[in-house]
Amino acid sequence: MNKEQSTVFLIDDDQAVRDAVALLLRAEGLQVETFANAPSFLESGAAERHGCLVLDVRMPGMSGLDLQKQLQAQGYRIPIIFITGHGDVPMAIRAMKAGAFDFVEKPFQGQVLLKRIREALVQDAEERCRQAQRADAVARMALLSPREREVLERVAAGQYNKVVAAELGISLSTVEIHRKRVMEKLQAESLSDLIRLLALQNDAS
């Protein structure tokens, strides 16, 4: 698990709103970084970092929705909470469909926003954790030989060793050796561990 402190990235073109919200979040003990517009956020490379995005929908130049689209295109999965003074429904729907974490109308209850931010941060942390596990699983799978992989897949599918041996045209003892090696390479304690890892790997691919 990465121990990096999660940051709230606040992007709003309105100076006052930016300052006020930042002050509020900091008062609540959150780490906040503010940006006046979307491009400066992209340039800062903050998208790769842990945390969540509090994003104004309408901004000169690149709008919030544009930024959302661009981040997705680049593969960033940082949760986005939209804040808007123009709470029109179609825009909210568009944002949510595109995978926004939430859509909060100005002026907002500080607690509501804080709650959503915390949730978003948790989700981000979980997501990043899952992502790390996936990466780990993938890395371990990469160690397996093709024959071992074949054996693993059949075993994970619930086939008996005998059946596996018959299907692959190898002896039962060879199957058992393969299975043992797989367990070692994947650092799995049990069959259920194997199945979870396989699922994670499949999820990641």
Binding site: D13, D14, A16, V17, D19, A20, V21, L23, L24, L25, R26, A27, E28, R58, M59, P60, G61, M62, I83, G85, H86, E105, K106, P107, F108, Q109, G110, Q111
Partner: protein
Amino acid sequence: MLSLRRVLWRYFPHLLPDSLLDAATLTAQTTRCSWLQRLWHQRSHPTTLSLLYFGLGLCWLLGGDLLINTWLHNLTPPPLALLLKDAILVILGTGMLYGLLQAHARRARRLHKVQDMRLAEFIEIITDVAFIKDQDGRYLLFNSAGARLVGRPLNECLGLRDHDLFPPDLADRICADDLQVLTQGALLNCENHLLIQGETRVFLSTKWPYRDANGHIIGIIGIARDITAQKQAEDLQQQARDILEMRVLERTAALLDVNRSLEQQIIARVQAETALRDSEERFRQLAEHIREVFWVYGLAEERILYISPAYEELWGRTAQTLLERPLDWLEAIHTEDQPRLRIAHVRKLESGYLNEEYRIIRPDGAIRWIWDRGFPVRDESGHVYRIAGLAEDITTRKLAEDQLRRQQVELARMSRLSLAVELASNLAHELNQPLAAIVAYTQACLTLLRLGKVDPRDLGGTLEEVAKQGFRAGEIIRHLRELVQKHPAAQGVVDLNALIHTVLHYAQLELRQTGVVLVLELDENLPAVLADDIQVQLVVLYLIRNALEAMHDNDSTTGERRLAVRTGMLEPSRVQVTVCDSGPGLSPDATMRLFQPFFTTKPGGMGLSLSASRSIIETQGGQLWATANADRGLSLHFTLPVYRNLGLPSLSKSRP
């Protein structure tokens, strides 16, 4: 003896010398006795002569008897004497009768001779050619006139033929004529031409048959007269007649021409009269049947000369009254329009022109709008002597116009309202910005205070920020109120550049949010215009919003989003404002329908604002139109009249 002579002279002229006879003839002629005269004239007649001589013999017998009786009675005895007496008487009588007969014959011969001589002399004397020819054509008689004609002595001519005397062709013709007379035995007239001394002379020959005592034709008698002069005279006369005739013909022709042209003139005049009558008839029909009132005012007569029947229908007053009282029509006019119309009437009499709209009140109380126009009618010298005019009932049109104006006002109001509502919602959205900031600040402060992490005195800056945001919200609300407030429409002096800056202030948020580059090209020397401040603000705001929306909807982010606002002078009297966007522009069809109410290309738009903007600008005396930009996008332009400080309070006239 004297008496006897007289008796003899009288009754026996044959016995007397010619001179005596002549005298006797004279006497007889002078005598009044008619029977004697008749007798005298027939004295040569045998019967007369016999009677005369018988009487004479009887007288002689009785007288002699008496004398002899007396004489013989003395000589011899009665029987012898009687015998003697008879013998003597017979002898005497016979002898006397013979003597008388002799005398008569002698006289007759002498008379014939004289007559022949006279005839010959006559024939000789006459200037006409006289001749007698035998059956063979030989001349038996030829007078000296004829001899002169043929140029030969008279004696030589006798016994010759025509061919000896005349040129052959003429002689042939004469012979042919002669033959005709001899065979037909009738009188013949013919003309012959003869060349004499180089001169052609014309002769008229008259020939007839020469008969003997038994009536047999033995020759030809003829007479030829030189009718050259007569012919010439006739020719001259003919010529004169021809000339005369020609002149008559010419004159006739000329007269016919004149006649024809007169007829044409008459026809033309008749046609002109007919046309005039038709024209008058048409005019009459027109004037009497059109719904408009046609009138003619005589300036010299100082009264209405003609007014069409529609007047009675329209005014509800009789034309007769109007003809008697020329100002009758004015009395029907609505009291509000009367002063104006009285001035117009006076001006009409001066200039001849009238163009007024006014209301009349009919006797039944109904109000009618009239459009009355007058034009001067000039005489040949260009002097205005009449005014002709047309008064038209425009009530329906006026009502429609009122209706339209009301609708336009309503539309403008609606549109202003819709603009204001849109703007209000926009501003309300903008209010969320400071409100959000205020809420966030205060909550942050509260949190900090609650946690006790901060010295309350350090929160002063934050609270100031809160107050600033509160003022910002108040400012937004103030703008909002300005817009939504119902301003009485009033024209005033407006600085368009300042107005545009104000409007841009309203639109700041949107400008900021749409990320449009704003280009301002404002003419610094722009004169003030005369307009309704708020309304023009609305229009400018609308145009800017319209441009922003056009560009916002444009997904192609390739080009720069650019909003240009320009002001400048179009003409010395007009200022132009242009709002130019770089959006997708409009299709030609859409450009055409752009100003129709309820036309819109925007998903949520009502389509009122552009048509409303136009009506607002037109109400201000300007124009609003759209043009496509050369590269891309659309430009919307409007003009407004320049304010001139002429002190024209009438221009700020309030509308209904």
